[in-house]
């Protein structure tokens, strides 16, 4: 985990200001097969390396962010507003 995160709106902030939800997965369509929903709700990869997560700048701008970070080196590659993220 990084000590400082650069929020696209607020700049560099300490991790204490954020809450982490977990994997930044795209929510399936309402009519998607149940298997797809099952994977979305329950299945997580646990990679050593690049990982996209939802972080919430709770004690700042209160925007949800997608943080791309390396779980081994803790380096943050990217941090962007969740609303701007193209669904993957």
């Amino acid at each position: 985990m990084a000590s400082l995160i650069t929020c696209p709106h607020c700049g560099q902030r300490p991790k204490e200001e954020f809450a982490i939800k977990g994997a930044a997965l795209a929510r399936p369509a309402p009519d998607a097969p149940q298997g797809e929903w099952y994977d979305y709700v329950f299945l997580r990869t646990n990679p050593r390396g690049r990982y996209e997560e939802y972080w919430h700048h709770v004690s700042g701008c209160r925007r949800w962010l997608v943080v791309t970070r390396d779980t081994a080196s803790h380096a943050v590659e990217d941090c962007r507003d969740a609303a701007e993220r193209a669904p993957t």
Binding site: L4, P28, P30, Y38, V41, F42, W64, A83
Partner: protein, 985 residues
């Protein structure tokens, strides 16, 4: 007592004499002394007993790595054990006490452990205390606990203040020796924001102990000039007494400043310690190098010291190490010491050099090359050493011995983020890896051998960073005279013909034979050897011992130190007090308190408050003559049910939802339908998680076409707000919806009971009769003849005719006062969260006791609420999983004891009548329990296998903790007024 203080020299202020005590005896020292230098000046050599063998120990170093001179400083709540005397500044009135000895330092019973040493070798914990198993708890552990351990913590509260602080800089320089000063100056002159931190109270590092001449002035004078210039630069912050002790992600460094650890009574308005978090764009580590001891017999005898330490006491503190000194060295460090000792007039008997080719030496002392010290003797104070040279042994009477096994660069910080140390044969040392990002190294931490090289390195590194940041910097150089060139040592791990115990880790009493044994017994891997022998596991974390241990393991296993490798370096570099880690977060600052706008109102009505998360909630309002809390609660419940009551519900989460798509949004976040909720109406809403379990509940009112007022439970106010923001921003950014937390804007109170309407009508301007303001009406209302606007909701959590009214928080107390005054003739009372809880259990309403993450709407009897027609809502897809409608699921039911005199507790389990208390027989558990004054019986809500179909069945409520079996009956969870007649009264 002999004085070892020299008549002149050093940086102590001989005009200022400071009194202090050690083990109750009075001593004096000078301003500028450390406790260690003052003790040495007084001839106090024996300063502690070792951890395991209780061997007499003396001061070994002059810095942070000190393993022996650990003392308890201060008294009462300010007692601080394991303080390194080498780091403790002397102050008038300092009280120091030695540790790990009984009854006294001089006569110590634990020293008998030395006689048991054959049984206390490597792995002795694992070998000795294994059997019989029963002995562990009764005999072995208490014995180990008593015998082991360093200082004792005090049981008194620490009276002092601590704080944490953030700092930001372009460049953090760690260490203020020649490389640190040149880095800071170069960067500071270039206009960078610089922080220079050093763990000692005086800045200058090794320069303070140096006799070389730099740019025509003495080394301390050179350093003082640099510091003075740094102090004059507004963009430079100097942090003396500050240990940088961790390098963390994002180039954040942790540092501990000892603000007032050098005064007898700290000023109350300032912290004693300050924990810095320094966000540095770059850092230069100019942390220097630690001199290694040599591993010969009796190398722990008081009077044996590292050569650098001896030189520091001599040059910086004006303290002679002894009357007759010898030096055992593997490198030129010993010659620098020798020359300084002779200049100061201290008798130097010999320099014993393990090499054949030491430097030329112009002093009087005898130089013995190709020689080693095999043993030192003297017990509590060194008396003689045994030397081997030219194939023979020679004994020499000396009272002090300086030793130098070479230098280990202090690379700890550079390795805190996972880097691995690299062994360099050329430098005979472990060096930091060269692919570090965010930090650079300069000075002897890189293996640099002299002052000029260090100054140049520091300046070059800083100038490079400055130009990277677009600033131009002038490089700095220094001309140095009279310095002993320090070529790398030739490592000397194993000294032959040793008689006594040769210590590797002084603090944990690990000696050479322990490491050999570890290797023999298959624990030669560096990480295993550490655990097996405890080498490097003491509070000094092996600063002096690790490299020697690695060298010896390498030798024992026939490998090179590079192949053995190091153990992992982790923060903190030196121990940190808990006080500093918690900072100001103690007492009332431990966590924030949230106060309701009706707090003072509740307090004046005598409320007893209870912590609910961060909130203080009024729990009940005792009246005169009421002795037990339940008396008050029972009265409040009965009064609400027969008259009326007022309860503060301001801490419920309140969220205003607006925007063109507000309706769509609300409809999607609740499981039940909201699209058709008319303006002016409230609806109970059930929020699910994506896995179909209930997340939270509350009422949401439609105050306008695109304006909703949502309430959440108190506990989930913050999580629900975050969840809604997630839905709005991450899931459905295409919806036009805005969320605002208005929890703090409104004072909200529940007015419940048959008289509620009459009382409330007294302040509400509009008609609130049943016809005009029926059940679930929700509207903005005018109050007090138009003086105030509030929001009124006809909702009930008690089953009574009830309202919740929200008014701007600043007027909350006034409105509550008015309602209480108007209600007085009607018998209104204030009621708290306990009475509220009893009434909701009586009505079978759920809270987070029931919504515990495992229940679906159907489990709590709300399955019919869930929309069948909505295309999407949070939780819809997973809720349709087959297992979630299985009849064997735990579902909500009521439980009452057969005999109202019997009680049980929340969390108790339900067993079928006659069934044994086994896991297989478990039928569910009690979620909420209350005494119902209305029914005059205990009542409970429970989640029970197939609960709704078992009303009337006799069961047993089993409390496994108290082993109580209470006969009870399953019943409808709505205990009171199931037809809701009172609600609509």
């Amino acid at each position: 007592m002999t004085s070892y203080r020299l008549n002149q020299g050093g940086l102590v202020d001989r005009a200022t004499t400071l009194d202090f005590t050690f083990d109750g005896r009075s001593f004096t020292g000078h301003a500028g002394d450390t406790l260690a230098s003052a003790l040495l000046a007084n001839g106090q050599r024996l300063v502690g007993r070792s951890f395991k063998y209780h061997r007499p120990r003396g001061i070994l170093t002059a810095g942070a790595a000190e393993p022996n001179a650990l003392m308890t400083i201060g008294s009462g709540g300010r007692t601080e054990p394991n303080t390194r005397a080498t780091m403790q500044e002397l102050y008038a009135g300092l009280e120091a006490v030695s540790q790990n000895r009984w009854p006294s330092l001089d006569r110590d019973v634990g020293a008998l452990n030395s006689l048991l040493s054959p049984f206390l070798g490597a792995g002795f914990y694992y070998k000795t205390f294994m059997w019989p198993a029963a002995f562990w708890e009764k005999l072995y552990e208490p014995f180990i606990r008593k015998a082991a351990g360093l200082g004792r913590a005090t049981y008194e509260a620490d009276p002092d203040a601590y704080e944490k602080v953030w700092a930001h800089c372009d460049l953090l320089v760690v260490g203020s020796g020649p490389a640190g000063l040149s880095s800071a100056l170069t960067a500071g002159r270039a206009g960078l924001r610089v922080i220079l931190a050093d763990e000692h109270h005086a800045l200058g590092g090794s320069l303070l102990s140096e006799t070389a001449v730099i740019d025509g002035v003495s080394a301390p004078e050179f350093s003082a000039r640099c510091v003075e210039e740094l102090r004059s630069l507004p963009n430079v912050r100097l942090l003396p007494r500050t240990t940088v002790l961790g390098w963390f992600d994002s180039n954040v460094f942790g540092a501990l400043e000892r603000v007032q650890k050098h005064v007898a009574v700290p000023a109350a308005n300032r912290p004693v310690e300050r924990f810095w978090r320094i966000a540095a764009k770059h850092a230069i580590l100019a942390t220097g190098a630690e001199e290694r001891p040599l591993v010969f017999g009796g190398n722990d005898t008081p009077g044996v010291m590292t050569a650098t330490a001896m030189r520091s006491y001599l040059n910086r503190f004006g303290v002679a190490p002894g009357k007759k000194v010898a030096i055992f060295t593997t490198n030129n460090s010993g010659y620098a010491l020798g020359s300084d000792l002779e200049s100061a007039g201290v008798a130097l008997t010999a320099i014993i050099d393990s090499r054949a080719d030491g430097p030329a030496y112009s002093g009087q002392a005898r130089i013995i090359r190709n020689a080693v010290v095999t043993d030192a003797f003297g017990g509590k104070s060194l008396t003689s050493i045994r030397i081997k040279h030219d194939g023979r042994f020679e004994t020499m009477d000396v009272d002090a011995l300086g030793m130098s096994g070479g230098f280990s660069p202090v690379i700890h910080l550079a390795l805190h983020r996972g880097g691995k140390a690299q062994w360099s044969d050329e430098r005979a040392a472990f060096l930091a890896p060269d692919d570090l990002k965010g930090i650079a190294l300069a000075g002897s931490v890189t293996g640099a051998g002299n002052i000029a090289e260090s100054v140049a390195q520091g300046s070059t590194q800083a100038a490079g960073l400055a130009s990277m940041m677009g600033k131009s910097a002038a490089a700095m150089s220094a001309s140095v005279e009279g310095e002993m060139e320090n070529r790398p040592s030739r490592p000397l791990w194993f000294i032959p013909d040793v008689i006594g115990k040769a210590f590797v880790d002084f603090q944990n009493d690990v000696h050479r034979a322990d490491l050999k044994l570890a290797a023999q017994e298959g624990y030669g891997h560096v990480e295993l050897a550490k655990r097996y022998t405890t080498n490097g596991m003491a509070t000094d974390q092996g600063k002096l011992s690790n490299v020697n241990a690695i060298g010896l393991l390498a030798q024992a296993r026939g490998l090179s130190p590079a192949e053995v490798g190091t153990t992992t370096f982790r923060p903190f570099y030196t121990p940190v007090s808990f006080g500093a880690l918690s900072g100001a977060s103690k007492g009332k600052h431990f966590q924030p308190v949230r106060k309701s706008p009706l707090h003072d109102w509740a307090a004046k009505h005598g409320a007893v408050f209870v912590d609910t998360g961060l909130w203080y909630r009024s729990a009940w309002f005792p009246r005169e003559g009421e002795t037990a809390w339940r008396e008050s609660v029972d009265r409040e419940v009965l009064n609400v049910r027969s008259n009326a009551g007022l309860c503060d519900v301001s801490m419920l989460g309140k969220i205003e939802i607006t925007g063109r798509d507000a309706t769509t949004f609300v409809d999607r976040v609740y499981a039940n339908g909201f699209a058709k909720l008319p303006v002016g109406k409230a609806r109970y809403g059930l929020m699910l998680r994506e896995d179909g379990m209930i997340y939270d509940d509350g009422t949401t009112s439609r105050l306008g076409e695109n304006r909703y007022y949502m309430t959440t439970t108190t506990a989930y106010a913050a999580p629900v707000m975050s969840h809604l923001e997630f839905c709005a921003q991450a899931l459905w950014p295409e919806l036009d919806v805005r969320l605002a937390s208005v929890t703090d804007q409104w004072a909200q109170m529940a007015i419940a009971g048959p008289k509620a309407r009459t009382i409330l009508q007294g302040i509400v301007d509009e008609d609130i009769s049943e016809a005009a303001f029926g059940f679930l009406a929700a509207r903005e209302v005018s109050l007090f003849g138009g003086k105030l606007t509030g929001m009124l909701f006809r909702i009930s959590f008690s089953g009574e005719l009830a309202y919740e009214i929200a008014v701007p928080a600043g007027y909350g107390e006034s409105v509550a006062d008015a309602l209480m005054a108007l209600g007085e003739p009607h018998g209104i009372c204030a009621y708290g969260v306990e009475a509220l809880g009893v009434m909701r259990v009586e009505k079978g309403f759920i809270t987070h006791s029931e919504i515990n993450g495992t229940v679906t709407p159907a489990d709590v009897g709300l399955g019919k609420m869930v929309s069948r027609t909505k295309q999407d809502f949070i939780g819809k897809q997973m809720l349709s999983r087959e297992g979630l409608s299985h009849p064997s699921r735990l579902r909500l039911a009521g439980v009452m004891p057969l005999d109202p005199a019997h009680t049980f507790k929340g969390g108790a389990h339900i067993l079928s009548k006659g069934a044994e208390a086994t896991l297989e027989n478990d039928q569910g558990y009690v979620t909420s329990y209350a005494w119902s004054p209305t029914l005059q019986s205990p009542i409970a809500l429970a989640l029970i296998v197939n609960g709704p179909d078992r009303h009337g069945e006799e069961v047993v409520v089993w409390n496994g903790l108290l082993n109580e079996f209470t006969p009870a009956r399953i019943c409808d969870p709505v205990f009171f007024d199931p037809a809701n007649e009172k609600l609509h009264a």
